[in-house]
């Protein structure tokens, strides 16, 4: 019988080895896949019982932090957003039941102390390995921009043209992350359902997650392409015209308000005539125009260090590419920012920044650096040029054109205090067809000081009401941009 007993021992050992292999398969090999299963919220439960580092602005204001909960709470820590709503679409939210968004999502490893460097450091250091995220954004400026925008749907973006650092970026309407981050899942669900039910989509930051028809502000791009291609120069002039018939159509193109408009290159730019820019687009032709627009980054997702940024559009109608060679009138209209053109407000800010920065379009970013618990730098954002659509010479020419807009043209409301020279381009995007009630977005993008630009501002107001729709980019968006610029120059850090 002993032989059988020994064989039994061997057989049982084999069975246990099979179990051991299964244990390894599940706990090690398939760990990540199982952890990421959408039904699995164990990781979340564990994270909610761990501290999480703060997000801090460039001027040292805490905009997201974890505080210990009171006795009886389901979890040990509660995420708080002390600045309420004004940073909510930058920080995003951190919830138990509904995931996390924006920086809370993108920088989660740093905040939880889960990056490799932090894990190594925590072995030798104190128990708390959480990290912090320091932004390029200024809390004071964000507040000023939010107040200037008020409760009008739209956005304002302030950026450093030489680096791409975002100094302020506000959108309205916006969410308040505190309301979603409550541990009361039912309450958070109701708040989210309410936000989702609104047509104005407050969960999307319209500064960088939405795109809108740019109107005449797009003429910066058309001019840049035309100057680079030699289709136009400062010597060229256009006759005063009321309308112009592009090829392939009987429907003439008109200037804003149906007025006569023309003159030198500088004049047509600051008066914002439509016909010359339509003609430039047709003269460039589909191939050069499309290639030129792409050189400005249109059609690509904006490379900001926040999740789910939008991409601007020139060459598609819906999701179908337009064959401009069969559709020259659309190309002509696209030349002055109408038709199918849509631009992300942040992208328009980057367009102005390109002119301000000698033709180099810097990639935008909001995170300046990440720090470990002891304040050592984990990572530091290195600015880089994303696109270089125009030469320094063209940029200088265009700066002059944009200075003209502020001094003599549609951008007069953006003339700054203390004699600081600004440069700008306005836009009034007409959304309605002929005969319908007037609906238009109001835009202004500009930078200052013109001779050595330090700040770029882009303001965009959605044409959701009659007040905005009845006015122009210069008159509506201009004063908001001026408020921001004047604050910037009187409160430099």
């Amino acid at each position: 019988m002993n032989g059988q007993i020994r064989k039994l021992a061997a057989a049982l050992l084999v069975l246990y080895m099979v179990v051991f292999v299964a244990l390894n398969t599940i706990q090690v090999a398939r760990k990540e896949a199982l952890d990421e299963n959408p039904n699995n919220n164990r990781q979340t439960i564990r994270d909610f019982n761990r501290p999480r580092g703060p997000i801090v602005t460039a001027d040292g204001v805490v905009i997201a932090q974890s505080v210990p909960t009171l006795e009886g709470d389901e979890f040990d820590y509660q995420r708080e957003y002390p600045q309420a709503d004004i940073f909510s679409n930058i920080t995003g939210y951190y919830t138990y039941g509904f995931g996390s968004t924006q920086l809370e999502r993108r920088q989660s490893d740093v905040l939880m102390g889960d990056t490799a460097a932090q894990k190594v450091a925590s072995v030798f250091g104190s128990g708390d390995s959480t990290g912090s995220v320091v932004l390029t954004m200024r809390a004071d400026l964000q507040r000023v921009a939010a107040d200037a925008l008020g409760e009008r749907e739209g956005s304002a973006v302030v950026m450093d043209p030489t680096t791409g650092a975002i100094l302020a970026m506000v959108s309205f309407p916006r969410i308040d992350s505190n309301l979603i981050s409550t541990h009361n899942t039912k309450e958070a669900e109701d708040v989210l359902a309410f936000y989702n039910s609104l047509d104005s989509k407050p969960l999307l930051a319209n500064a960088y997650q939405e795109r809108y028809m740019p109107g005449s502000s797009f003429k910066i791009i058309t001019t840049g392409i035309a100057l680079e291609a030699g289709v136009t120069d400062l010597e060229r002039s256009w006759p005063d015209e009321k309308e112009w018939l592009p090829p392939q159509t009987d429907d003439p193109i008109q200037n804003y308000g149906g007025k006569e408009c023309g003159g030198s290159m500088a004049e047509i730019f600051y008066r914002s005539c439509n016909i010359p820019f339509a003609q430039m687009a047709v003269e460039l032709g589909p191939e050069r125009m499309v290639a030129g627009v792409r050189a400005w980054g249109v059609g690509e997702q904006i490379p900001i260090d926040l999740p789910a940024a939008a991409a601007s559009n020139f060459e598609n109608a819906g999701s179908d590419p337009i064959d401009f060679s069969q559709n020259l009138p659309l190309l002509a209209i696209g030349g002055f920012g109408q038709a199918n053109d849509t631009m992300v407000p942040l992208h328009m800010c980057m367009v102005a920044a390109t002119v301000a920065n000698g033709g180099r379009m810097m990639a935008p970013y909001v995170v300046d650096r990440t720090l470990d618990h002891d304040g050592r730098v984990l990572d530091h954002t290195e600015p880089y040029a994303w696109k270089t659509p125009i030469s320094a010479a063209t940029a200088a020419t265009m700066t002059d054109l944009m200075v003209g807009v502020v001094n003599q043209g549609t951008g007069k409301p953006m003339q700054l205090a203390n004699g600081i020279q600004a440069a700008a381009k306005t836009g009034t995007a007409q959304l309605n067809s002929a005969g319908e009630p007037q609906r238009s977005h109001a835009w202004i993008v500009g930078f200052a000081p013109a001779e050595a630009p330090r700040y770029v501002v882009a303001v965009m107001l959605k044409g959701t009401n009659d007040e905005i729709s009845a006015s122009t980019g210069g008159r509506l968006a201009g004063p908001i941009a001026k408020t921001i610029f004047d604050y910037l120059f009187s409160h430099e850090p």
Binding site: Q4, A22, K31, L34, R42, R46
Partner: protein, 457 residues
């Protein structure tokens, strides 16, 4: 008691290991409380005293009644019992209180078995009693009025405030019967007198009682929807037949019968089909039958290599975390390291049990040790492999670890029997001097008195 260095070494080693198991359990208990509530458990001192008291009591019993026995079985059982208790206490205060009571009862039973059963061959004399007790207790849950169903399986008997699972004890009783019956008849069964083609078939009258007992037990277990026990019992019978007769044909027959039975059960019972569906794909039924299997997968994954730490995982999300799925709770909070340690502990117990079987000389003791070890080894395999989805899950307890009084009690009885056989071999081999058992001393005393009485007039 006469002096024996070998016995002293075995018992002192056992004491050291038991104290170590108690220390591990005590530390785990404190860590679980710190992890869960960030504070020292209020009951830590009484807990440690009670734990140490129970384990030392069990050890003292082996010192007095089985001093030549293997010294690793009791510490291994104590460690499994301790880890299980910490997990149960971490999952539910109410269940921890009940488990404490049952632990006490189980230790008392362990001591009583060692005290009362001092000569293993005595047990063989009661083989028919064990058959009827085993078969009878298996049927008890089917009796209207006292039997109750929990979670689909009708394996409970309610007597007043206490619920017990008679099947847990039936396993041991039937293993005793098999061992005794096969020890008597194994040669007759193995020889086989009739020939059918190349096969030799034993006389029906030798084969019939044991096959009837086995068939009856399996049918009753299936009728009670206690599939895990049916599988365990099937394996136990096949293994014991094979070891007793030394003929591999019984393994083949056992396997063929098992395949046929499994196929029939799959066709006949919806519950078997559900188990197989959940086994192959718990994810598509996440909201229903697959939920607990999916949650146990998540628990294991969450534990990873090192575990979340005691009290810091979420094993409460698994519906049967303290019974069928306690292995997943251990995997989550103690990680691969802790879960593998549990496996190793069972492998060591199997090793110790089968070593006892090999060292035993009398067929009854050999077969009984083999059977009891198979029960422990296969039961732990069936539930761990089921939880890990190596095989379909069949609800059964993890010996010594899972919550459940009947299971704990029967496993300590089983442990006492193994230790008894081990001690018996040590005496036979002359490793420890044989001494009179309690019963024998009592008989000697009675005889002397009688002799005196008859001598006087």
């Amino acid at each position: 008691m006469s002096n024996s260095p070998l016995a002293a070494a075995r018992r002192n080693g056992e004491l050291g290991l038991v104290v170590m198991a108690a220390c591990i359990t005590g530390a785990a208990y404190v860590l679980a409380s710190l992890g869960k509530n960030s504070e020292m458990p209020a009951t830590v001192v009484p807990f440690l005293l009670a734990l140490l008291g129970m384990l030392v009591a069990a050890h003292v019993a082996t010192r007095y009644f089985a001093r030549g026995a293997d010294g690793t079985l009791l510490p291994l059982a104590a460690l499994m019992h301790g880890i299980g208790y910490v997990m149960i206490a971490r999952l539910s205060d109410r269940r921890a209180a009940l488990q404490t009571t049952w632990s006490l009862i189980a230790i008392v039973a362990f001591v009583l078995v060692l005290m009362l059963v001092q000569r293993p061959p005595d047990l063989a004399r009661y083989k028919w009693t064990f058959l009827f007790v085993g078969a009878g207790s298996l049927v008890l849950p089917l009796v209207p009025g006292i039997g109750t169903s929990v979670g689909g399986a009708r394996i409970w008997v309610r007597i007043g405030p206490v619920s017990i699972q008679p099947g847990e004890f039936a396993k041991i009783a039937l293993a005793l019967f098999f061992a005794a019956y096969l020890a008597d008849n194994r040669e007759l069964i193995a020889a086989g007198t009739r020939r059918i083609g190349p096969m030799r078939i034993p006389e029906l009258r030798y084969l019939l009682p044991i096959t009837l007992a086995w068939g009856f037990a399996v049918v009753v277990m299936v009728a009670e929807k206690d599939l895990g026990s049916a599988l365990l019992f099937f394996t136990l019978f096949t293994v014991m037949m094979w070891v007793a007769t030394e003929r591999s044909i019984y393994l083949v027959v056992g396997f063929v019968l098992f395949a046929a039975a499994a196929f029939t059960a799959y066709k006949m019972f919806g519950v078997v089909q559900t188990r197989v569906q959940v086994w192959t794909d718990p994810w598509s039924q996440y909201e229903g039958k697959g939920y607990q299997s999916a949650q146990s997968m998540f628990a294991f994954a969450n534990g990873g290599t090192g575990g979340t730490g005691l009290g810091m995982g979420s094993p409460n999300k698994i519906p049967a975390a303290s019974t069928d799925y306690i292995y997943a709770a251990i995997g989550e909070e103690m990680g691969l390291v802790g879960a593998a340690a549990v496996l190793i502990a069972f492998v060591l117990m199997i090793g110790a049990g089968l070593r006892i079987a090999i060292r035993a000389d009398r067929p009854f003791e050999k077969l009984l040790a083999t059977g009891l070890t198979t029960i422990i080894g296969m039961q732990a395999f069936i539930i761990t492999a089921g939880v890990l989805r190596v095989i379909p899950l069949t609800g059964i307890t993890l010996p010594f670890v899972s919550y459940g009084g009947s299971s704990l009690l029967s496993n300590y009885i089983l442990l006492a029997l193994l230790i008894r056989i081990s001690d018996s071999s040590a005496k036979r081999l002359g490793e420890v001097p044989d001494e009179l058992s309690l019963g024998e001393r009592w008989e000697t005393y009675q005889l002397r008195r009688a002799a005196k009485r008859t001598a006087r007039p």
